[in-house]
Symmetry: C2
Subunit: 427 residues, 2 copies
């Protein structure tokens, strides 16, 4: 199932710069005064981050007032004009193809940039509206959703096994203390979700978007429930079914290769961890309708999703190259799932700092296996994924992204717990 | 400061039915077939609640299929036509003036009615839109807000002392167990709020809408903070200042008789318990702006408010007679405070069942002092308040109302706690 090797992410022109190109200059012509002026304006227009900027002649074109945390080097004029056209988008593509390099700590460079850029566009401004329209995500209908999910989650289980935790949990972990390992924190997250759902033996659970099946198997093993787990990634479903057999849980857990919109039946708990980012705002009410008909009165629901403090499109490069169709919602946007059906929101928890830490742990592991990843794909793929992971750390660290866990029940359900102490009861 | 005795709540026509009127019939003329048909339609159009309905001739005009939980008696034609015109509004006024009586448990009657009525109007329907427009609340500008608050909170501290807990906390309590008393639960609520805010000695706290000052004094006494507490109810502020002096806390707590829009300075924590219901949706962004300029980076905020599962106006009788200008927001509506300023929502907890229990405790105490209340006001006032408390129990019990506690911080604040375990740590 390997795609065109040089074009794993849909990068333009076969991906990488040739070595003569990376030496730069000749084909570009020398840096002009206009290039230098544009480079300088680019930085000041984008909030004057404490990052210095050099051009393809090696000379610095922008030096911040504060001590720079990193140096960004543009290797050719195309990189410069790309940044002018759409800084978020072309930074990603140019970094992946080597037209942009970063000297110094990539994560710190991105954090500084996020901090500088983030608060500059007030809500409701024309600039923001135009940006939102230009950056509207791809469609998320049933057909498009399959393509979107295939693009990312079907890259190959071998790839994810190289740098995720040993159980392949590809969502925000829960670090009960900062010295917890990734494995401990993912295990704690699985229990945290189950405790919030107050699972009881014999209950029936629907999971929408089950990844490699780890939560479904964990719920079955530790809480004695039956699970129907849905996913449209064929690679993940295949792996999850193997795991169910290997762990002797195939009678308790059924992995269904289907879209969340086709979920039927009735359940005591409805859980979705890390799927909502891919659902698309236009389908939130449809997701609510699925939950409305699926969740029994007295049942509990939990949706775990990357989110925003206020409505904004995803980073356009992430949306195009990494997660097609994705959009992290604000809480008011998430309410489009719940409010049309009068679901009662019981509990919202924000795990933003946990996702910063999770992505840091992933990046550390990714850096250790980059040679293997390059052999599986190519150097542009490695750079793109390093940027994606580093950018995610920066986004969670600076408050550009959030992680919401929302627990809910039907409006008329008076069996909801009086307090949340059960979530924190030591087991 | 007593108002026109017969018109405490702005009830029409001097309030009460005369005793000859309550005997009914003569001035009304006999019940006609049309009256009977209208009474029947009224019940079926409003969801066929399991409540029987009798008219002023004593005959039953509607008998539910299920066993009735109570019997509603309309004492005259005016009551019938009022219900036809605006059931929510005229039920309240007619019950208060004695044109409507309820035989059986008032709370159970209202619960059954809420359950029957609530799900009948789908979101976005024309009927709902018209209802929302007709029931838009009074203005909540600075002048109107003062009138609105005066109407309810300046009824006299003596009145509230008769049936609230001994520290006059007039918001949802927190019952850590169901055998907790009202006093224990209010004390637990005060601590619950303080733990969520993670107050530390020496911090400066702003409280918007401080009631009789109990939370402000509690924070100062138990958490060693300095508090500026704002309120536009002169009766409450007078009482709160007396309490500060009596408790020797006047150096730590300043009670300011002013509107939340005039809050200045900077604080480590911003807390508002039970004020948002009176703020009015149109002022949410202004409230957010106040918090934005007041709360230091690194500070915590908490807003505690009655809410809804989805946008809807307040019960029009409550909005007119009990809490002018009030509107409980849905979570998406609450986000109008936070999202324009990119506040990060850390935690939302729904305490709906706690408010059902709190109102039940209040009603029990109110019933015991109704003779005293009638001497202070009049019989219509007693009936109106009994209906308000019983209706609140029913609304929280049936999921028509929610109680949200929302904890938030500035977007860039990385000092937020990793987990919420501190809220549940035994002290």
């Amino acid at each position: 199932m390997k795609r065109n090797e040089s074009n794993w992410l849909g990068l333009p022109g076969g991906g990488e710069l040739s070595s003569s190109e990376t030496q730069g200059s000749a084909s570009e012509g020398p840096v002009t005064a206009t290039d230098r002026w544009i480079a300088n304006r680019l930085m000041t227009l984008n909030g004057s981050a404490p990052v210095s900027l050099a051009l393809w002649d090696g000379e610095t074109a922008y030096e911040p007032d504060a001590s720079p945390v990193a140096k960004v080097i543009l290797r050719d004029r195309r990189a410069l004009y790309g940044l002018l056209l759409s800084p978020h988008f072309y930074f990603g593509d140019s970094y992946s193809t080597g037209r942009i390099e970063v000297e110094g700590d990539l994560v710190e460079c991105l954090k500084a940039t996020y901090r500088a850029v983030e608060p500059k566009t007030p809500p409701g401004s024309v600039k923001r509206e135009i940006r939102n329209w230009l950056h509207r995500p791809r469609g998320t209908g049933i057909e498009s959703a399959r393509d979107n999910i295939h693009h990312h989650y079907d890259l190959g289980n071998e790839f994810y096994r190289l740098w995720l935790d040993d159980r392949l949990v590809y969502t925000c972990a829960y670090y009960e203390s900062l010295d917890a390992t990734l494995e401990q924190a993912q295990n704690a997250k699985l229990h945290h979700v189950c405790r919030k759902l107050q699972l009881k033996p014999g209950q029936e659970v629907v999971e929408a978007g089950c990844g490699w099946g780890t939560l479904a198997l964990h719920m079955a093993r530790h809480y004695g429930v039956r699970v129907w787990a849905f996913n449209i990634s064929s690679e993940q479903i295949r792996y999850a079914r193997e795991q169910a057999r290997a762990q002797g849980l195939e009678d308790q857990v059924e992995f269904v290769e289907d879209d969340y919109r086709n979920i039927g039946g009735q359940c005591d708990a409805f859980v979705s961890v890390g799927m909502l980012e891919h659902v698309g705002l236009e389908n939130y009410e449809a997701l609510g309708a699925v939950i409305r008909r699926t969740l029994k009165i007295g049942g509990r629901g939990l949706i775990h999703s990357i989110g925003r403090n206020r409505p904004a499109p995803n980073n356009p490069w992430i949306e195009r190259r990494i997660f097609p169709g994705s959009r992290p919602p604000s809480l008011s946007e998430m309410m489009r799932i719940f409010e049309p059906y009068s679901f009662s929101i019981l509990d919202v928890e924000n795990l933003r700092l946990h996702y910063e830490r999770t992505c840091s742990d992933w990046l550390k592991r990714f850096d250790q296996v980059e040679d293997q990843v390059e052999q599986m794909y190519d150097a542009a793929f490695v750079r793109a994924w390093r940027l994606y992971l580093a950018g995610s750390i920066a986004a969670f660290a600076t408050g550009s992204l959030q992680l919401f866990q929302v627990v809910f029940a039907h409006a008329e359900d008076n069996t909801v717990p009086l307090t949340r102490r059960h979530v924190y009861a030591d087991t």
